[in-house]
């Protein structure tokens, strides 16, 4: 059969994809939303009703403001539009207020804010090494657009669970795109803004710091790619510093002037929470916990441990609380910080020593995000998106990265399902099926376009296919068994642990690819 080449304008498919996903988001307006909905409504209310001096002290609602000031200003701006939808949502005392107008407004605000994300994706497409003359469906920019715009992890978290990640990731991707395009000042500015919107991006700040220092402040490298100390440009360093500092001062300035900095910081970094979130993120600590549990059970069985001496606190209880491990040493926040830093240090060294241009930076960024996901304290499984989305850019250009992306995205997105668990069993299953099959579509699209043999080796393929029986067991078989009452969180644990294996594997492979990738600075003419 002959494939008719599309007669359209080159960019109309982008518009069609963006419009299509927006329609889908509109259909999800009335879907289940989590407590994050109330969180944002509360922030709308308090930024609107109270003067800035009280924003970080306000505690009527349990969902206090724990994002940096720029995000608070963003909510303030939104609140002025919210007035026209329903004034009642802006009253701080109206806890859990969720009228139809409120829902409509908040959902629409996320959908509209995603315009930033659309723009960023468009810019990223320009940074790819395009292969001209390919049929539309085989173009890397088309695949990237699908993978990013229709990223179903983002759909679940933003448009069902409710958050503004699309907007934030838009800023991140735009910043990355600017670095690819050698517009480093803009990239740095965007990243500083991003840090002041949501401080979780501090995890990837080291990548930015090292890259900008190495590749931008030192204007030249030697022929073999090593550092040329003499080419240090003070001007550039100072400009970058000014940009970053001025952004922070605009954001935190007012609060420093009011002497509220300690309070703001305490709100931003609440360390009282436990090692693991209520639903375990699939990271190293999930495996650690499981190992600990297994050892304790074995220990009791073989009479090596006294059951009375074991701590009774539950790790998977609904409330996040401190707990002690039984057999393995307990983990403190400091320990996790050290582990995180250790995990990303080799990558940072690598791009300092042998930078690989913007792509090396991106790889390092993903490793930083993934490393902090793996070893961080109280990591939320949503944080996996910080690794998956930038990885998409690499995935459409290299087979190895595509493999890693496939494994990481499937397991990462699958581990997001607990976000949809509610007491209303109905919605959980509906959302499951609805959105997961779209992801499978993504996967098929991706698999399909990697000609030249299968993308995954049999072991990897089996692992991924194993998610299906896992799902069936956790969803349908387990609730019917006797253990449902005594160990209600076992399916979640199983999901976390299974996915943690995949994530760890992806992390290791990513590291290998960074440390062994050939130095292509000679090929890249512009830095």
């Amino acid at each position: 059969t002959v494939m008719a080449a599309p007669v359209t304008n080159d960019q109309s498919w982008f518009f069609a994809l963006a419009l299509g996903v927006s329609f889908l988001k509109c259909l999800l307006i009335n879907a289940y939303h989590s407590t994050d909905f109330e969180v944002h409504r509360n922030w709308l209310a308090l930024t609107h009703s109270l003067p800035a001096a009280q924003w970080y002290y306000e505690a009527t609602s349990e969902w206090t403001l724990d994002y940096p000031p720029l995000f608070a200003w963003f909510e303030y701006g939104l609140s002025h539009i919210a007035r026209f939808f329903d004034k009642e949502m802006l009253v701080v005392q109206n806890l859990n207020y969720a009228s139809p107008a409120t829902i409509l407004f908040q959902r629409l605000s996320v959908i509209v804010a995603d315009v930033v994300f659309f723009y960023a994706v468009k810019e990223c497409c320009k940074c790819l090494r395009e292969d001209k003359g390919k049929d539309l469906l085989g173009k890397p920019s088309f695949i990237l657009t699908v993978l990013l715009l229709w990223n179903f992890g983002l759909l679940i978290v933003d448009h069902i669970h409710f958050q503004y990640n699309g907007f934030l990731f838009g800023v991140l991707l735009l910043s990355i795109a600017r670095h690819f395009q050698n517009r480093h000042f803009e990239g740095a500015l965007l990243f500083s803004i991003l840090l002041n919107l949501k401080h979780i991006y501090l995890y990837i700040a080291p990548a930015y710091g090292i890259y900008l220092l190495r590749c931008f402040c030192f204007t030249q490298s030697n022929a073999d790619g090593s550092l040329q100390w003499r080419s240090f440009s003070v001007v550039r360093l100072v400009t970058l510093g000014t940009i970053v500092l001025s952004t922070f001062s605009v954001s935190f300035g007012p609060f420093i002037a009011l002497g509220q900095l300690p309070q703001v910081l305490s709100r931003l970094f609440p360390f009282k929470r436990g090692l693991c979130h209520a639903y375990w993120a699939p990271n190293i600590w999930a495996l650690y916990n499981i190992a600990d549990k297994a050892f304790s059970i074995l220990g009791v069985k073989f009479k090596l441990l006294d059951i009375n001496k074991l701590p009774k606190a539950s790790m998977t209880g609904g409330l996040v609380q401190e707990f002690q491990h039984s057999v393995l040493p307990s983990v403190s926040p400091l320990a996790t910080l050290i582990c995180t830093v250790l995990s990303i240090l080799p990558a940072l060294f690598r791009i300092w020593h042998r930078p690989n241009g913007a792509r090396g930076f991106l790889r390092c960024l993903v490793i930083c995000a993934l490393g902090s996901f793996m070893f961080g304290w109280h990591v939320h499984e949503k944080a996996i998106l910080m690794a998956i989305l930038p990885l998409s850019l690499l995935a459409v250009e290299s087979r190895e990265d595509a493999r890693i992306f496939l494994i990481l995205s499937i397991t990462g997105h699958y581990s997001l399902f607990p976000l949809l668990f509610t007491t209303q069993v109905a919605h959980q299953n509906i959302s499951h099926v609805a959105i997961y099959n779209l992801h499978i579509g993504n996967v098929i699209l991706h698999l399909f376009f990697r000609k030249g043999g299968a993308l995954l080796n049999p072991l990897e393929a089996t692992y991924l296919l194993g998610l299906i029986p896992l799902e069936l067991i956790c969803e349908f078989v387990y609730p019917l068994t006797v253990w449902q009452k005594t160990f209600p969180f076992l399916p979640l644990m199983l999901t976390s642990v299974y996915c943690a294996l995949g994530v760890t594997y992806a992390f290791i492979r990513l590291y290998i690819s960074l440390l062994t990738c050939s130095d292509s600075t000679k090929k890249i003419k512009t830095q």
Binding site: M3, V7, N437, L445
Partner: protein
């Protein structure tokens, strides 16, 4: 390989939009005492599970026919029975005799929506895929685009997954029938269509073309020889299928009569208040299809060689029909899905039309009109007129939708907006009937000329 992955993407998009729509309300949600079609389907599960077969269609103390009595043929009843068994496993309260009237809960809604999805995946979607794969002309991209358009058609999605019905079963079975005939498997085709007929009696409207086509085919093969044998086999298939479906009702002569009385309630008006809207809307579509199928041989060949552009015109026609369902959907609280799915469908069709086909006069088969108007208006630029007419229709529909929802009709004419919607839709239908009939009349000549150019 390539085709199938693209097709599976279409299916996934179709499934996702179906599930996303199923989040929304259903007919009669939270509206005692009668509720709506959703409650009717649940009630049929209750009736078929708890009562013996001979009581299903009769007015007894246990079975009040005034409260959503069964008025579809036996296959629907059997389907409800199977669903009821599953329901009993999950939560017996859902089908408790009498006690479960008006039962509404999230888990029950999930269950009911799941039954629709299950039958959709089993019957309708494979039929659509096979149809697009084997019977659509054009490049593989056009086939995939066709499949996508059909699967995303908002009418079926909103009626089945919003309002709540099982049209996908009867339409799917009818489509299998068409597939069977198209592939030359007459017996399979007749079987499938008979099953469709036994699911919903509205398929009678489609039965005439089936009958005429098969009869014509047999006559062609010679009534004395093979043709007669073929006719006998087909008739036997149909009769056996009917017998199997109606078997429980054949023991007592009163039974089939009562069933027929329920299926064709000529005692009441055909536009009785309860079912007025659904009947009205679907009735019009079926009538149009009947009128279209007067040239039965051509009808089926028309079905099997649908040019892509003509197909998109058909989609626009269906879109107008969908627009006429607006009053019904607003009553069900489905305004948001209506707006979103119709906009999505519209944009998708427009995008595909511009991407995959250029709408020249030739493609639009405007030759007919050209011939007619050549004498009177030789300077007419027909394709431009068609485009203007298209945009005008869209604007008119958008304006009518907006006014129906947001404005209050004047006190003298309380039904102003629904009537306007009906009039607009009717005018479109009239135009399409003329257009399609002309196309069919010109079909043999053009087919010959097409064969020359291919």
């Amino acid at each position: 390989m390539e085709n199938w992955s693209l097709f599976s993407l279409c299916v996934l998009l179709g499934l996702t939009s179906r599930w996303a729509v199923s989040f929304h309300s259903y007919s009669g949600a939270g509206k005692p005492p009668m509720f709506g079609d959703y409650e009717a389907q649940r009630h049929w599960q209750e009736v078929t599970y708890n009562l013996p077969v001979h009581e299903w269609y009769f007015n007894t103390t246990n079975n009040d026919l005034n409260y959503w009595g069964l008025d579809y043929p036996p296959l629907t009843a059997y389907h409800s029975l199977v669903c009821a068994y599953v329901a009993k496993l999950l939560n017996p309260e859902w089908v408790e005799l009498h006690a479960s009237r008006g039962y509404e809960s999230h888990s029950h809604k999930l269950f009911m929506r799941a039954t629709v999805l299950f039958t959709d995946i089993l019957i309708y979607i494979p039929a659509v895929l096979l149809y697009c794969f084997y019977f659509c002309d054009g490049s593989s991209k056009q086939k995939v685009a066709t499949a996508l358009c059909i699967l995303l058609y908002p009418g079926l999605i909103l009626i089945d997954y919003g309002h709540f019905q099982y049209n996908s079963v009867s339409l799917g079975l009818a489509l299998w029938g068409i597939l069977g005939l198209g592939l030359g498997w007459d017996l399979f085709g007749s079987l499938a269509f008979t099953l469709a007929l036994n699911y919903k009696q509205m398929e009678l409207y489609h039965s005439l073309p089936f009958f005429c086509y098969l009869l014509g085919k047999c006559i062609k093969q010679g009534l004395t020889g093979r043709g007669f044998f073929q006719l006998a086999k087909i008739s036997l298939t149909v009769l056996v299928t009917f017998a199997l479906c109606w078997m429980p009702f054949l023991s007592d002569p009163k039974q089939p009569l009562q069933v027929l009385h329920r299926l064709f309630p000529f005692g009441r008006g055909l536009f009785e208040d309860k079912v007025a809207n659904t009947w009205c809307s679907l009735n019009v579509l079926i009538k149009i299809k009947t009128l279209l199928s007067r040239e039965t041989q051509l009808f089926l060949s028309y079905c099997t060689h649908l040019g892509f552009c003509l197909f998109l015109r058909l989609m626009f026609f269906l879109f107008v029909f969908f627009h006429s369902m607006l009053p019904l959907l607003v009553k069900d609280g489905l305004l948001l899905p209506y707006v979103v799915t119709s906009l999505a469908f519209l944009f998708l069709s427009l995008y595909l039309l511009s991407a995959l086909e250029r709408s020249t006069e030739e493609e639009l088969r405007l030759g007919i009109y050209r011939k007619l108007t050549r004498h009177w208006l030789p300077k007419l630029n027909l394709s431009r007129i068609i485009k203007w007419k298209f945009w005008f229709s869209l604007v008119a529909m958008a304006v009518l939708s907006f006014t129906s929802v947001w404005l209050e009709p004047p006190a003298k004419f309380p039904d102003l907006f629904p009537v306007l919607v009906s009039i607009l839709s009717f005018l479109h239908f009239l135009g399409f009937i003329i257009y399609f009939n002309l196309v069919q009349l010109m079909e043999p000549q053009r087919k010959k000329s097409q064969k020359k150019t291919n």
